[in-house]
């Protein structure tokens, strides 16, 4: 089982690596598309801005290998935060940007869904689990995870939504479409419950 973590030099891949190591599993860091060639499980712990990261993905030719792995070979993919958001058709942060389009929908600033609280939404918030099992196997409804973001998924087909979280307004905190998983929170920063999510993703889901 080859686990790869995509590293675009914009974020902390170290924490997720350590999380996997903590589970006693091996992984490799993919800094170039060719390094995904024999991957069976792909994790993208993206932070940063949607346009900046998508531009890097396009410029460095990641699209073909991602299509091949995720869409054709149906390899398991976990997108964390921005790694989930780029799965949609389009997003905006400073400017509008086309995404990978694996899941129909878009990404909006929380202000646009009328959230008036301070932003970014930073800290520990509870997750209301819609679909038990999957990533949330052995995790209690209402468990707290660490969030740090300003943008949220929007216009996603209800059947792909696996949890929601409230920050004045309700937003989607995780999704699943077949082999594709996404979480808005940071499991790699959420202590023991977070490690459980990673374990569920790799081993049982």
């Amino acid at each position: 089982m080859k686990i790869s973590i995509i590293d675009l030099d914009v974020c902390n891949v170290h924490s997720i690596s350590k999380c996997i190591e903590h589970l006693g599993l091996k992984f490799s860091i993919a800094k170039n598309p060719s390094e995904l060639r024999d991957s069976e499980i792909i994790i993208f712990p993206g932070i940063g801005s949607y346009p900046a990261v998508m531009k890097k993905i396009i410029k460095n030719n990641w699209i073909n290998i991602l299509n091949q792995k995720i869409i054709h070979e149906k390899r398991k993919y976990l997108g964390i935060c921005l790694g989930m958001q780029i799965l949609t058709d389009n997003g905006e942060e400073f400017i509008s940007q086309e995404g990978l389009g694996y899941i129909n929908g878009n990404v909006l600033n929380l202000r646009k869904i009328k959230c008036e609280f301070v932003l970014p939404h930073t800290g520990w918030n509870s997750v209301n689990i819609k679909n038990e099992g999957g990533l949330f196997k052995d995790i209690k409804n209402g468990t707290h995870f660490y969030f740090n973001h300003t943008f949220v998924l929007n216009d996603i087909d209800e059947k792909y939504v696996t949890s929601r979280t409230e920050y004045q307004k309700e937003f989607i905190s995780s999704i699943r479409k077949d082999n594709i998983f996404g979480v808005q929170f940071h499991p790699e920063k959420s202590s023991s419950a977070g490690i459980q999510i990673i374990k569920n993703f790799i081993i049982s889901s």
């Binding site: 030099d9 932003l119 300003t150």
Partner: protein
């Protein structure tokens, strides 16, 4: 519902031990008078197990980051052992420095002096790494009408604290950490007035620090202001302070913690 955050702050200096420099945790009083406390990693593990919400890790050695391998090795080691959000900083001057911090396990980076010298740096950093990654530390002295200082309290910049905080917000800071240098390490209570003024006038999260000596100071801070978190160094660094007791006292006052 989003919970309020309690954030232990660890200042890191090096101590020569058997001819090798080892990172150790220190506390300060009024940004002076350094006291050695102990091993940062075991301290961090205790914080994680006692449900700290985040950790601030400040590099206190004034060594150019390029040559500061000890600190980055330490940061990597720390983040390998503790699965909590880490805000790290100290000496950041370039985007490359930020990259080094992130690569070695920081989730958010803390900038202070560089913003005072060139505020457009905040904008560049936010564009490159996202707002949520950029935390600006604002240090002020309440004894001097809340004047703002950079360079660890050594140089003054002439700007009003609220307008500075607003400028930092406008330039892309994702969070502000306010520290009253005159209360640092004094355990006499937080600067509620400044915390209230800044947190009520910004649209980004504000964290208040400097002066916690009792659990009641945390309660007061959360009750009287709109701050999102409280950070404390001295308070958590000595054994007579139990994190659990502090948490339950805050919870008993109906403040939402995790």
């Amino acid at each position: 519902m989003l919970k309020k955050r309690i954030i232990p702050k660890l200042l890191i200096k090096y101590e020569k031990f058997q001819n090798k420099y080892t990172p150790v945790c220190v506390t300060t009083k009024n940004y002076n008078k350094i006291n050695f406390v102990g091993d940062p990693i075991s301290q961090g593990k205790i914080f994680e197990s006692q449900l700290a919400d985040e950790i601030v890790l400040l590099n206190y050695e004034r060594i150019s980051l390029k040559e500061n391998k000890i600190y980055f090795d330490f940061l990597k080691d720390f983040s390998s052992n503790i699965f909590l959000p880490l805000t790290a900083g100290g000496g950041i001057k370039t985007l490359k420095d930020i990259e080094m911090y992130l690569k070695n396990g920081a989730d958010k980076i803390l900038i202070n002096s560089v913003a005072g010298v060139d505020k457009s740096f905040v904008k560049k950093a936010a564009r490159n790494f996202g707002k949520q990654c950029i935390v600006v530390a604002i240090d002020f002295r309440s004894s001097k009408e809340n004047e703002i200082y950079i360079d660890r309290g050594k140089s003054k910049i002439n700007v009003d604290i609220l307008s500075w905080a607003k400028t930092m917000q406008e330039f892309g800071a994702g969070e502000i950490i306010l520290t009253d240098i005159d209360r640092d390490g004094c355990r006499s209570g937080l600067n509620i007035e400044v915390g209230k003024n800044i947190s009520e006038n910004l649209e980004i999260p504000v964290v208040l620090s400097g002066g916690c000596g009792l659990a009641g100071h945390f309660v007061e801070g959360f009750k009287k202001t709109k701050i999102q978190g409280i950070s404390a160094g001295t308070f958590f660094s000595y054994r007579d302070q139990n994190f659990f007791e502090t948490r339950s006292q805050i919870l008993n006052n109906k403040i939402n913690l995790r």
